[in-house]
Symmetry: C2
Subunit: 343 residues, 2 copies
C-alpha cells in the first residue's frame, strides 16, 4: 500500500510502468488494452489510489459520461423513487447521473436544461413539467442532447418516450368500480399540469360511455403541485356542498386522493366498501403512501421499475447508436389494479 501520492496520469503511468497514452486508453475502456497490461495497471491501482481528474477528462472528451436526470417535483415520493431507480442503473452502467428537480417551476426547468448543456452530458432522462414547460426551450435542448422523455409525454419531443399506459390503467379501474358499485365520478383539477391527467380524463369519459353511464367530471381549481392540499380543500368543499354526483370517486391521481380521503375523514364520511360507508375513493399511481392511508387506497399501479429500466435502456441505445435520425419510439407499460379497502 501507498507509495507517495500520485498527482496525475503521468506519475501514475510511471509507477505502473506503462506509458501515459496506454493508461489513458485503459481508463477509457479497460478492455482495449492487452490483458497483461491491464493487470499491471490494476496492480498499480491497488497500491497508489489514483483517479483521473474528472475535469480534465471532461474537457477533452466531446461528450462526458454524465447523464442528467430531471424530474418535475422531487418532493413527490413517486418521483424520488423513480429517480432512485434511474440513478442506480446509470451508475451500474458506468455513468455519472446528476439529479435535478424543477420543483414545479417553469423557469427552474429551463435553467436546469441550460446548466445541463454546459455539462456536455452523454444523455438526459427528462420528465418534463408538462403543460407549463417551455416547449421551445425543451425542443432546442432535445435537438442538441440525446434525451429520453418519461412520465409526461410531449409531442415530437426527444428521441423516445417511456411511460405509463394511462388508457389501459384508467379503463381497468373504471370497469372495476362500475362492476362493484356505483359508477364513479372523476375528481380532478380543472387545468391539470400533466398530460397524464388529460389522458386519464379522456379514458374515463370513453369507458363510462362505453358502459352506458354518463361521465361525471368533478373539476376543481388549483394550479400548484401541492396536490394533497387541493384534494383536501376542494374535497371538503364538494363533500360538504353535496356536489358529488355519485358516492364513488375516482381521483385523477393518488396525491389528490390522499387529500380527498383526509377531507372525507374530516367531514365524517366513512370511506370503503362496507355497508356503513358513505363513499368509495380510488386513486391512480400506487403512490408509496397510498398503502398507509386510512383506509388504504385502492389504486392502479405504475410499473415504475419497468419504466425506469426501459428509459435507461433506451437512452443507452440512443447514445451508442449515436442516432437522432430514426423514428421517435414510444413505450407504455400497463398498470395493475391494486385492490385495497377504500373502494
Amino acid at each position: 500500500m501507498g507509495g507517495r501520492k500520485i498527482r496525475n496520469m503521468e506519475e501514475f503511468a510511471a509507477v505502473s510502468g506503462i506509458s501515459r497514452p496506454t493508461v489513458s486508453k485503459y481508463f477509457n475502456d479497460p478492455a482495449s488494452v492487452r490483458a497483461t497490461t491491464r493487470q499491471r495497471i490494476e496492480a498499480a491501482l491497488e497500491d497508489y489510489d489514483y483517479r483521473p481528474n474528472i475535469f480534465a477528462v471532461n474537457q477533452n472528451r466531446r461528450l462526458t459520461k454524465n447523464i442528467g436526470i430531471v424530474v418535475p417535483y422531487l418532493a413527490d415520493p413517486f418521483f424520488a423513487e423513480i429517480a432512485r431507480n434511474l440513478e442506480r442503473r446509470c451508475i451500474d452502467a458506468g455513468f455519472s447521473p446528476i439529479l435535478f428537480s424543477s420543483h414545479g417551476v417553469t423557469d427552474y426547468e429551463t435553467d436546469i436544461l441550460e446548466a445541463l448543456r454546459a455539462l456536455k452530458p452523454a444523455g438526459v432522462l427528462l420528465a418534463p413539467l408538462g403543460r407549463s414547460s417551455d416547449k421551445k426551450a425543451l425542443e432546442a435542448f432535445c435537438r442538441d442532447v440525446p434525451t429520453v422523455l418519461f412520465d409526461s409525454y410531449i409531442k415530437d419531443l426527444g428521441e423516445a418516450f417511456v411511460g405509463h399506459n394511462n388508457a389501459q390503467a384508467t379503463a381497468l379501474i373504471c370497469e372495476y368500480l362500475c362492476r362493484t358499485g356505483a359508477p364513479p365520478c372523476f375528481f380532478e383539477m380543472r387545468t391539470p399540469t400533466n398530460p397524464n391527467a388529460i389522458r386519464r380524463r379522456q379514458t374515463y369519459c370513453d369507458v363510462m360511455e362505453g358502459l352506458g353511464h354518463e361521465p361525471r367530471l368533478v373539476q376543481v381549481e388549483g394550479e400548484s403541485w401541492d396536490f394533497e392540499e387541493v384534494g383536501y380543500q376542494e374535497g371538503k368543499r364538494v363533500i360538504s356542498e353535496n356536489l358529488l354526483p355519485t358516492d364513488t370517486v375516482l381521483c385523477s391521481n393518488d396525491r389528490l386522493a390522499i387529500g380527498f380521503l383526509s377531507a372525507a375523514y374530516e367531514t365524517g364520511r366513512h370511506v370503503g366498501r362496507g355497508a356503513n360507508c358513505a363513499l368509495r375513493v380510488a386513486g391512480h399511481d400506487n403512490h408509496p403512501f397510498s398503502k398507509y392511508t386510512s383506509p388504504p387506497l385502492t389504486t392502479i399501479s405504475q410499473d415504475y421499475t419497468a419504466i425506469a429500466h426501459q428509459s435507461v435502456a433506451t437512452l443507452f441505445d440512443v447514445i451508442e447508436s449515436g442516432s437522432t435520425e430514426n423514428q421517435q419510439t414510444q413505450k407504455l407499460f400497463d398498470g395493475q389494479l391494486i385492490m385495497r379497502e377504500s373502494a
Copy 2:
C-alpha cells in the same frame, strides 16, 4: 443579437474589445473590473451569448463553485423539502449545488463522498445516515472538505452542526400529552438508525420521570429506512397482542406514526381525543404528509426553513473564512407543537 458563434474566451474577448485576462477576471468577480469595462463586457454578453467552459474553469481553480448536498434518504419528503431549500439558497448565492441521496445504504454514502471529492467542491452540506455511517470515511472526508452537518449529529464531525432541538421538542409534546390525557408510551425502533431517535427516547424517559410517570418504551424490530412499513407491521402486532401499556402512543417520528395510524385503522381502533376513541397517537417532525392522515397527526414541527438557512449560512462562513481551526459550532432550532386531531 447573434454574430457568429463564440468558441472560447479568446474569441469572446476579441468581440468585446477587452483582453482575455481581463475578461477572465470579470467572470471570476464582475466587481473586480472597472465599471466601463464591465459595461462593455456585458454589452457583448447580450449579443454573443458566451459562457466560460465549466470544465476548464474547474480544472484550473483550486476549488470550484460546487456545493455538495447529501441526504440519507430522498424518498422521504422531509429530506426532499429540506434539500429543495438548501439547493435554492446555494443557487441564489451563485453556487452550483449537486444533490445526492444515500438511499439508506452505507456504501452509497461512502461512494458519494468519494465522488464528491473529485468534484473539488467549495463545501458540502451533509446529513449523514447516522449509526450506520462509515465514521472513518466521514472523518477523512471532513478533514479535506469544508463540511456542515445537518439533521443527524455525529460527534466531532464537520465544521458545524445544524439541527433540530430534539430535547426541547420531545419535552414539549410529552408534557402536552401528559397534561391532556394518559401519559404516553414511546413507540420506536429498537436500534434506531438515527441519532435524533436516541435523543428523543432519552428525553422522553427524562420528562416522564420528571413528571412522576414511569417511562414505557415499546421497542420494535426493523432495520430498514422503510419506517411506514415498520410502523404498520409492528403497530398491528403490538395492538392486536395488547402490548401497549397505555392508550397514548408517542411515535419516535411521523413516518412511524403514519404506519401506526394505518395499523390502528386496520385493527379497528379509533384514534383521537374523542370519547369514542381507543388511542391517541402523536408523531415528531411535521412530515409533509402528517397533515393528511386520518385523523390528522398531532406532532412537533422541525423548523426546516431555519435549519436550511442556518446550514447554508454557516457553510458560507466557513468557506469565506477558509478556517478549519475554530471550535466546532452547534445550532439547534426549537420545534413547535402542531396540534391536530390524533392526540
